[in-house]
Amino acid sequence: MPESKNLDDQRKSWESAVVKKVTDKNPERKKEFTTGSWIPVKRVHLPSITTDAEYSEKLGFPGEYPFTRGVQPTMYRGRFWTMRQYAGFGTAEESNERYKFLMSQGQTGLSIAFDLPTQIGYDSDDPHSEGEVGKVGVAIDTLRDMEILFDGIPLDKVSTSMTINAPAAVLLAMYIAVAEKQGVSKQEINGTIQNDILKEYMARGTYIFPPKPSLRLITNIFEYCAKEVPKWNTISISGYHIREAGSTAVQEVAFTLADGIEYVKAAIKAGMDVDAFADRLSFFFNSHNDLLEEVAKFRAARRIWAKIMKDKFQAKSPKSMMLRFHTQTGGSTLTAQQPDNNIVRVAIQTLAAVLGGTQSLHTNSRDEALGLPTEDAVRIALRTQQIVAYESGVTNSIDPLAGSFLVESLTDKIESEVWKYIDKIEEFGGMVRAIENGFVQKEIQDAAYKYQREIESGERVIIGVNKFTVKLETPKDILKVDPGLRNIQIQKIADVRKTRNADAVKSFLNELRDGTKHAEVNLMPLILDAVREYATLGEICNVLRDEFGEYQESIVL
């Protein structure tokens, strides 16, 4: 409901009588004020939810449709969000040490970062891997590396999120195999795989195969896990990277939910009932600097997804309508200049995510723009979450900003803008079509360009970069990855090849190849067979590459 006419009139007379007297002498800092994503913001906002009916329709109660105020009835009063720091680098041994360090410092869930060759399905000895092994995450070539990665970490006691997309099926299979060796059944393991290929085409770039076979792999995973790995979140539909690529808050939500629609459609087309898999879909958003816009964004996202699942897909179970999400603070907002300032930025972004009701959170470290985080830096990042949780008081009541006139207005505005995008994408025939057309990429790039021009002109202030700059020496203690790492991994692969059953590997790879040719075959069990025999990631992905082809980036600026 728009603001009351009576109050609106009162505001107008206040502006012409009281405000004008001040602005005639002291004009405001800008002609127009907007959020970080260019949504206009008024001098004062007025109530927009004034009746009980409006409250019930737009907000409701936590844990109930439309879930605007939160997906759990007790939220942080019951349990804090999972503090889950994305980590991984170098060898499985080094990453294992970092995970144990983080757990000892109070982290409550694991989040695995893989290196680029692993994310793109190349072994460390592949020519494409030159210079890249172990740099942005841990190098995993075979099940042996995975066993080392989780050595001493009981998989029945932790939940693990793996940021892996195109070869997600293989890494999931490896995780299952490691659990088996620990004596933990796949019915018991808890975790998430990112497994969101659409955003790779749009914004992140670690794709392998074209859309059609990629969607097949994804729906194979949905189906397999619904029966065999019921506690597993089979996908983390991501907006984080879309925002990092330069999109607005509205686009972040719109393109993520449109991706979600595409995945749900694909699963239904593959014969699944929506309520059989939808409760295991999860999401992943960014947390940016404009705190109030971000809070509104998260609330709007929950409300829209609930409506989509209920109205568009006729989901019956409330669990299918709940948008559960992980958040990461916005890496691209952090600066190389005066890195300690980043601690402050991350604190604000943490508050935004928590006030927005996130289920799990990664906070970036202050050295984000310089390299991978040192132990000290990542400890501070974790403490930031803990201070907000225990000391700030915002976790004492659920959705504490509800009823803020500005926040409710922004929530409504973001929702209506998101629907426009979703409708537009439907007109294209869905997200895959929209990506082929270059529509979403262009929207993101235009927003990114505008944002950057504002920084260049000084219109958008970034402290330490274009205002209050200081010539400081850059920190010397940056994490370095051993460049000799690739050779270590190459040796490891050679060792595995010596001891494994080469015939079994060959045979299972052939069965996998065969399986790809029949659309009704679920590839997960075949991948699991190959993984157990220590087939390498590259060997498995090369079979898939042969049969599925490779995606070719095509849209330019």
Partner: protein, 319 residues
């Protein structure tokens, strides 16, 4: 023969690339170079590929290159994109879709910006084609976006023109200027897996049917492809081979090449005369005075021009 020309004839990539830069930058040395190379031209087939943005031209070319390389043909591509009318700069991104061939010695890809020259880019492309021809490429493909006069000129300098259209971009036949439809020799309906592909094919057949009502035997081929899925490319090459054979046999290929040479010579000669006149007559500076006179309505434009022309011709002893 100069060392530079010899290197080009040997296929030295750096030399070929540098020669094209000379041409783009209109360096006077280009003229003697091209004259040196010219006797070695005439072996290459030149295909123009045009169509609206999003038609999939580059992807199509990528697949054509693959097949032609399989036939042991050396392929060169000139990808033309518009320069910004404001800054004069350009983003040249067509080759992105053909980068799988980046390290193939038998493939040469060059991106050219239109640089705001009406007709100028056509001449540069013509000369670049000669260099690539002399360097031994069997097939030279010129890719442009099919809107505007410049693009039409560029395409006219080829032996045959592939016009690539896709369903779902709206009423693109009406939207495309009539001139472009007329210069297509082979029509490609790309993304044939999309809705509306057959309808588009029917629309093209209809338009062509009217064009060739009196001579249906000259009807131009229409081929359906789905380039990104590697479908229909063989059919396309078959259609092209057939078309090339036909125009070689009935003499129209030679006619076309001659007529192309004619407009090239006409164009260069006229340009040189004009440049000569401008230099000798200090045209740009005199022009400012004339503009002033006309602006203040002291003279009508035509009377002033004719008066000045008569004076000029008398100066040159042409009257």
């Amino acid at each position: 023969m100069t060392d530079f020309a010899e290197r080009i004839l040997r296929g030295d990539v750096r030399a070929i690339a540098r020669a094209i830069s000379w041409i783009e930058n209109n360096r006077p040395e280009k003229e003697s170079l091209i004259d040196e190379l010219f006797p070695h031209c005439g072996n290459a087939q030149v295909w123009g590929i045009t169509g609206p943005p999003g038609a999939g031209k580059s992807t199509l070319l990528d697949k054509i290159i693959e097949l032609e390389r399989g036939r042991q043909k050396k392929v060169a591509v000139i990808a033309v994109d518009p320069s910004s009318p404001f800054s004069g700069g350009a983003i040249l991104g067509d080759r992105l879709r053909m980068q799988s061939h980046a390290t193939d010695e038998g493939v040469f890809i060059r991106s050219m910006a239109s640089r705001g020259h009406l007709g100028g880019v056509a001449q540069a492309t013509c000369d670049a084609i000669k260099v690539l021809d002399a360097a031994g490429f069997d097939l030279i493909a010129v890719e442009t976006i099919g809107v505007g006069q410049t693009e039409i000129e560029v395409v006219e300098l080829s032996d045959l023109v592939l016009l690539v259209l896709v369903p779902g971009l709206g009423d693109e036949i009406q939207a495309m200027k009539a001139g472009v439809m007329e210069i297509g020799d082979i029509f490609v309906v790309n993304k044939m897996d999309r809705d509306g592909a057959l309808k588009l094919k029917a629309e093209i057949e209809y338009v062509l049917g009217i064009q060739f009502a009196d001579h249906p035997e000259n009807m131009k081929p229409i081929v359906m492809t789905a380039a990104s899925m590697n479908e229909g490319i063989d059919d396309l090459l078959t259609a092209i081979d057939g078309y090339v054979a036909k125009i070689s046999q009935n003499g129209s290929l030679q006619d076309k090449r001659k007529s192309r040479l004619k407009s090239e010579i006409r164009q260069i000669f006229t340009q040189k005369v004009s440049a000569h006149v401008n230099r000798k007559y200090d045209f740009e500076n005199r022009l400012d005075e004339w503009v002033d006179a006309v602006y203040r309505k002291k003279n009508g434009p035509y009377s002033l021009i004719n008066e000045k022309l008569n004076l000029f011709l008398r100066e040159c002893n042409w009257l």
